[in-house]
Amino acid sequence: MQQTFQDTVKAQILVIGNGMVGHHFIEQLRQRDAGCSVTVLCGEPQLAYDRVYLSSYFTGTPFSELLMSTEQWYQEQQVDLQLNCWVERIVPTERLVYCRDGRVFSYEKLVLATGSYPFVPPIPGNDQPHCLVYRTLQDLQNIEASAAQSKVGVVIGGGLLGLEAANALKQLGLETHVVEFAPQLMAVQLDQAGGALLAQKIQQLGVTVHTGKATQAIAPGTQYRYQLQFADGSRLETDLVLFSAGIRPYDQLGRSSGLVVGERGGIVINDLCQTSDPSIYAIGECALWQQKIFGLVAPGYQMARVVADRLVNQQQATLTFSGADMSTKLKLLGVEVGSIGDTHARTPGAMSYLFTDPKAGHYKKLVVSPNGKKLLGAVLVGDTSGYDTLLQYALNEMPLPANPEQLILPASGQTALPALVLPDSATICSCHNVAKGDIVGAIGAGVCDLASIKHCTKAATGCGGCSALLKSVVDEELKARGVEVSNHLCEHFAYSRQELLHLIQVEGLTTFYQILSQHGKGHGCEICKPTIGSLLASVYNEYVLKKPHVGLQDTNDTFLANMQKDGSYSIVPRIAGGEITADKLIVIGQVAKDFNLYCKITGGQRIDLFGARLEQLPQIWRLLVDAGFETGHAYGKSLRTVKSCVGSTWCRYGVQDSVGQAIAIENRYKGLRAPHKIKMAVSGCTRECAEAQSKDIGIIATERGWNLYVCGNGGMRPRHADLFATDLDTNTLISYIDRILMFYIKTADRLTRTSVWLEKLDGGLAYLQDVVINDSLGIAAELEAQMQRLAGTYACEWKATLDDPQALKRFRHFVNSDKADSNILFVEERAQIRPATAEEKQQFQLQIPVKNLTEESIA
């Protein structure tokens, strides 16, 4: 015994497993107690990653962004993290854990967070090379490799995960089928009618659904690699089989160490998440609570909190696990699906209200208590806009209105639940278990804006599904406290950007001071001046440096270049669609060389030249314009780039000419002034190499035309674009983009990207589709005409500037001297220039602010 203990690593708390739940447990533990010694044993070679968003790996999200944390974080938290450490057995009587590599760990408390593995049905032939599962990163890589050698893919299992897997296969370019044993899709979450509508909608999106099919064998195929043989005698050929038939808990460690395990698997736990050995806890998908395994992340997080609370606070701990709401709202293959509570109306005496709109493809069902007072469940397919409201009715057992059907009937006025009537106990964010009371408390403590509230309560930072609800809670609470939730532009104008646009148009105002004297006060500021400059440009499309507008522009717009930290500028010529000739590349290279500029390739397939002095800008642009370049508007709140992949012209997989389309689109919208910058991309096939789904306007070629995605975003607040319309011809595509952009310009607040604009737009995507596709407001023709007029009056601002001696006068550092700014100094790094640091400038013993311009500063 003595010998063993010398080799044993002692930990107060030992955790086996580092998935999302295991990681959350560490976070929760360290939030409550920084002191106790913790060791984590992780069988996988990498840290916990976000499985919820795992499929985004196929759409280009780098794996590093899916990681929940870093090894450095574990070090900072003083948690001993052992990767690649596979546990062989537990000996509860000695509180020892033995690993495959021979190491031994002792514990005071042990937490099992071993998770689950995918269930593969015992079908003969299920162990062949292209028969795969969809669970880990390695699985995804296997699927990707197999798909590259396949044309057809079948998912066995039509549940939630199965449909996500089908989406992945479709994105990989395979002809995709879903095979489900039950007579409907998503039998756990949806009723029969909802499942049928979902199947119909998914078929329309090009995935073939086979329900009521029991697979009996996977035999060699004739046309494709394998043949699925079904119990009813029918056959389906495929190259790839993906099993998604549910999960099974990883409970072997529990079994082998004598813990009580459920009949169908799962380590049995009580309300404290304790197993049959009180020193051992189990959380997440390996745990069985009241005969239930919870296959969602939120209940696993709840268990993690319960155990962290228990281990830190011991007798004073208050949290218990009391089951979890399994309601879900998600988008499967682009179809909105919501499921709340008792969807099958199994509660005795329950009544159902149904609404279907076969034209729009909406199905909604309410399940209410026998007395009609409480909401027990709901099914939403095609339109989940009412989900948040319904969920709050169900979770808080709030009394329903006299006519509950109003909650699912379209356009019946006020259906959204005012956040004010929610009780303080109402859960707003289920990922991080934030109640309305927590948010109200934060506001009471002086936190007054949405971003700070998200930061301090963590609400809406998990799946983000509650963002809209959180915003309305915050807005209403602030309003109730008398804090004005103002959309006024700034202290000089008591109007929103949209209201100012109406005033300009209705009254025909053409200058800032006209608008200020009639509708504002003071002298304006750096907020309202550029905003009104942009509005005037959107309405009249005049040259932005025309005399009355000069003082309105940010320096970047005034000097048509991007100011850098040292007061020098960078230059980005337009390279439409990322296509450029060798001759033009040489021109850019020569200019950069002549003026000693730092060169960097941008993310938008262009070339950025840094380190130009103000007075050099016209000389540089003279050379560029003479060579046929135009301004790239990298400085403006306007269209930046239309990124493209090489498309059908060269690529083996391309189905349309994405480069040609990107160039045409970039040329149509270049120079367009908007509330914020606009980025677009065109991909030549579903492999999506141009990353169109992260752009404001994204276009993906299909065999039959173009799919249009809208309101995506990268950057600080990434948002996946929404599929707006499918298989469009080029004319329809352009008219839709015209309408969307013009509607955005007319209705968005200043500095609002399309992603945020759409999220704020009442009615969201469906409303935008209605306005643009169905012309519900009767303004489509007007929007198109306005865009046409702007496109027709485009002129390159740099060309106009070079032709205007008055405007050129501004490009001098001093109006009374030819000297240059001596504070702009460069040093060499990696064979290019970079701005000198303050220390380096001192070393040169330069006097700030002025020194004569000498040869060394213009190479």
Binding site: H492, G522, G524, E526, G551, T555, V815
Partner: protein, 122 residues
């Protein structure tokens, strides 16, 4: 205090700024002239060096007002500097020098030394 003739009014841009060299110092010169004021408007001169960003850029900032103070907003990080006192509104420990400026026969004259802020504020 000696005044130096710096440039002509035509060298300035209405409701915007330019940079001038005054006794080897960089000075941002602003011409505030709302359209309906009728007259020649008002001139302001402050140091061109932005103490927050550490670059000579204030002449390229946007003119405006915060409450009753006339200000220029730095184009780098948007701090406001009062045109009359030079003080930074966001960080009162920072300020830029303020120069006396006047208009004579369409010529702009600027004092070669910055003035004490209190005198200007008065």
């Amino acid at each position: 205090m000696s005044f130096q003739e710096i440039c002509s009014l035509d060298d300035l841009v209405e409701n915007s700024g330019v940079c001038v060299l005054v006794a080897e110092q960089q000075v941002a010169l602003f011409w505030l002239r709302p359209d309906d004021s009728g007259g020649t408007g008002e001139l302001f001169a402050v140091g061109n060096f932005d103490p927050v960003g550490g670059a000579n850029v204030l002449s390229r900032g946007i003119l405006g007002s915060v409450g009753d103070k006339l200000v220029v907003a730095s184009p780098l990080y948007k701090q406001h500097f009062c045109l009359r006192t030079g003080q930074c509104l966001q960080d009162p420990s920072l300020s830029v020098p303020v120069y006396p400026v006047m208009l004579s026969h369409h010529k702009v004259l600027i004092g070669s030394q910055p003035v004490a802020v209190d005198a200007v504020a008065a």
